[in-house]
């Protein structure tokens, strides 16, 4: 498989295939289980890993992922520990790694510091959900790829602006709002993705609200990748008390998604 985040996304776009991006919160329920889950994701065919950093006030996230943020904060987790963990993760996986964090922890760490850490880890992208396009330049530098987000409410001019940053991909938020599983108005989402497509040349990833392989199949031709987040969190939640069984559940879930988008 092709190495590199940018290259992978270009490949998806060029070949019309659809990649799977998995979001998982770092270090939960504990370090070992989390690492096992990540290995299982890759085993199941996941293409890109999006690793979340727990934050006390995650206002762009829905209830399920918010619960993981709060749980993490209660356990004393933070950006520093999350990045230490990311370093270990990077050593055991081959797929590209993207870090998902709110802005305040980055600001406290110091933006320069954060960039250095990201480079040391070898993470290939950063997603900061509470930073709109105007603020992203605080983070951008030649050695760090910042992923812009767009939403159904985003006007065409702003889609073009996101595209002009020449990102590895544009993250398309699918529901008007927050991460979490809910019924998507199919046609509306398709129209939205077409609108983004028509105003950009970057590859696209559709996220926030993909809750089943069937749904993934519906949208696969409209995007270059799909993000699975809340659903994965709910599987972790369900099997948390059986850490032995958790990896195989995750692996089989990802396999189902991969199968759904490749037929």
């Amino acid at each position: 498989m092709i190495k590199g985040l940018r290259e992978r996304f270009r490949y998806f776009k060029a070949t019309g295939t659809t990649g799977i991006v998995a979001f998982i919160m770092s270090l939960l329920p504990d370090e070992k289980t989390c690492l096992d889950c990540i290995k299982a994701l890759e085993q199941g065919g996941c293409d890109v890993l999006e690793l979340g950093i727990p934050f006390s006030d995650p206002l762009a996230d829905g209830e399920m992922i918010e619960k993981f943020h709060h749980r993490g904060v209660e356990k004393g987790l933070n950006l520093d520990k999350g990045l230490e963990f990311a370093f270990k993760v990077k050593e055991i996986i081959h797929m590209p790694l993207v870090i998902f964090t709110y802005f305040n922890p980055v600001y406290q760490m110091g933006i320069e510091n954060f960039r250095t850490r990201i480079c040391e880890i070898g993470a290939e992208g950063v997603i900061v959900p509470d930073m709109p396009l105007e603020e992203l330049e605080r983070l951008t530098a030649k050695d760090i790829e910042v992923i812009p987000l767009v939403a159904p409410s985003t006007p065409e001019a702003r889609i073009k602006k996101a595209d002009s940053l020449n990102p590895p991909f544009i993250y398309c938020v699918s529901v008007r709002g927050i991460t979490g599983m809910q019924e998507l108005p199919e046609e509306e989402i398709k129209d939205y993705l077409l609108r983004v497509r028509n105003n950009s040349i970057s590859p696209l990833a559709l996220g926030f609200g993909i809750s089943s392989p069937e749904q993934a199949r519906v949208f696969k031709d409209y995007t270059d990748a799909l993000v699975v987040g809340s659903l994965l969190a709910s599987v972790i939640e369900e099997y948390m008390s059986q850490p032995g069984r958790l990896p195989q559940e995750i692996e089989s879930m990802i396999r189902k998604f991969k199968k759904a988008v490749s037929c």
């Binding site: 709110y102 922890p105 709002g177 927050i178």
Partner: protein, 393 residues
């Protein structure tokens, strides 16, 4: 002129929200700038403030309190006499009218002490709009009376039992609602916090306090006051009374934060005194947080000051030195609460009692020809039950 075009007061402010919300914020800013020039909107708001909210609020010379303290004369700007019992109505009427002009049918609000929730529910009722108010479960418990009031006014009250269970988490939930519903809803932020244009919007709607004061004080005393003292949680009543005086350097402006049980981590709400730069609820300002940027727990006897953030313009005024910020501990505020009740027959809100307590410390150090205006931002009815449960010091 602050804020600048990007919504910054110096380096504070801005917009740190999901991209989804940007078009909604743009729409609010555009509509507001248009309505600022619209005579019909202005006269409609002025009429509501006068005939419905009861403005102008009186300026009262607290003679018995001044006499007892010795030193400067203390005046009270009686925002407690407004309809719904606090300054919050100035902003909610303004924003609700703005929302109606934008064609929104529903208002969303976050509330700490419940005063902003009540004021939003009231504005929604009188303008025929739906209303949902988010309130921390801990606050809903200590301010039960306001929960009933909001419900009686027809609002839906959602108690938030997450995180700190106070204003911070209520705000997170309100933002989540807004992100999902902005096409038909307007979020009425209750303080000078949040992403641009809210700090400007709320400041402007609250500036009526300072504008009135200027006129009233000159009329009464033939000059400007020496000090204006106001409590600061997010900072809306302070910003409203300070703003028209920013260009008059002879008037000293003092913001009073919640010192809680003292300045140990988690024991206070003194953001300007102890906070570092950070981002919460959409703006870069000062913030109480740990070294890793996790937002810190806070404490204050008064729910309205129990908040880890503060409006970006206050951070800016602190930096430029135009305003000074101090803090008052729970017990000092409680003492002032009783003092004003017994000497002047006015039961103040616990929030306002913080401003008052500072004025009581300041007055004896000043000359009798000097004057202090305290913004009595709210009345204390909502706090009676809570205070009755605490043994008087």
């Amino acid at each position: 002129m602050y804020p600048d075009a990007r919504g910054y007061f110096g380096r504070y402010g801005g917009r740190f929200v999901p991209e989804t919300l940007i078009p909604a914020l743009d729409e609010i800013e555009k509509s507001y700038r248009k309505l600022q020039e619209d005579d019909r909107f202005k006269s409609q708001l002025a009429a509501m403030l006068k005939d419905y909210a009861g403005r102008p609020s009186p300026l009262y010379f607290a003679s018995r309190l001044s006499e007892k303290l010795g030193g400067a004369r203390i005046f009270l700007k009686r925002e407690d006499l407004n309809h719904t019992g606090s300054h919050k109505i100035n902003n909610t009427l303004g924003q609700a009218l703005l929302a109606r002009y934008m064609g929104k049918k529903r208002l969303i609000a976050e509330t700490g002490a419940g005063q902003h929730g009540v004021a939003t529910a009231t504005a929604a009722a009188v303008l025929g709009m739906a209303c949902t108010v988010y309130m921390g479960a801990k606050d809903a418990e200590r301010q039960k009376l306001n929960v009933f009031r909001m419900q009686m006014l027809g609002a839906e009250v959602v108690k938030v039992a997450k995180g700190s269970q106070t204003l911070k988490d209520a705000s997170n939930e309100a933002f989540r609602d807004f992100i999902r519903s902005f096409e038909y809803s307007h979020m009425v932020i209750g303080s000078v916090v949040g992403p641009h244009p809210y700090p400007m919007l709320v400041r402007d709607f609250q500036s009526v306090i300072g504008e009135e004061l200027k006129e009233q004080f000159v009329q009464k005393e033939g000059k400007m006051p020496d000090y204006i003292v106001a409590c600061v949680g997010g900072g809306s009543n302070a910003m409203g009374i300070f703003y028209p005086f920013l260009s008059l350097p002879e008037v000293k402006l003092v913001g009073v934060e919640a010192g809680g049980k003292g300045l140990l981590p988690g024991c206070h709400g003194a953001t300007l005194a102890q906070g570092r730069e950070g981002v919460l609820h959409g703006a870069l300002s000062l913030l109480l947080q740990d070294e890793h940027g996790q937002v810190a727990p806070t404490h204050s006897l008064s729910a309205g000051l129990d908040y880890p953030g503060v409006g970006p313009e206050h951070a800016f005024l602190k930096e430029t030195g135009r305003a000074e910020y101090v803090y008052i501990r729970d017990e000092e505020a409680l003492k002032a609460f009783y003092e004003l009740s017994r000497l002047e027959g006015i039961i103040p809100a616990l929030e306002s009692a913080h401003a008052l307590a500072y004025a009581c410390k300041l007055a004896p150090r000043l000359r009798p020809d000097q004057s202090i205006v305290v913004n009595l931002s709210g009345r204390g009815d909502k706090d009676v039950e809570q205070v009755a449960g605490i043994k008087e010091v």
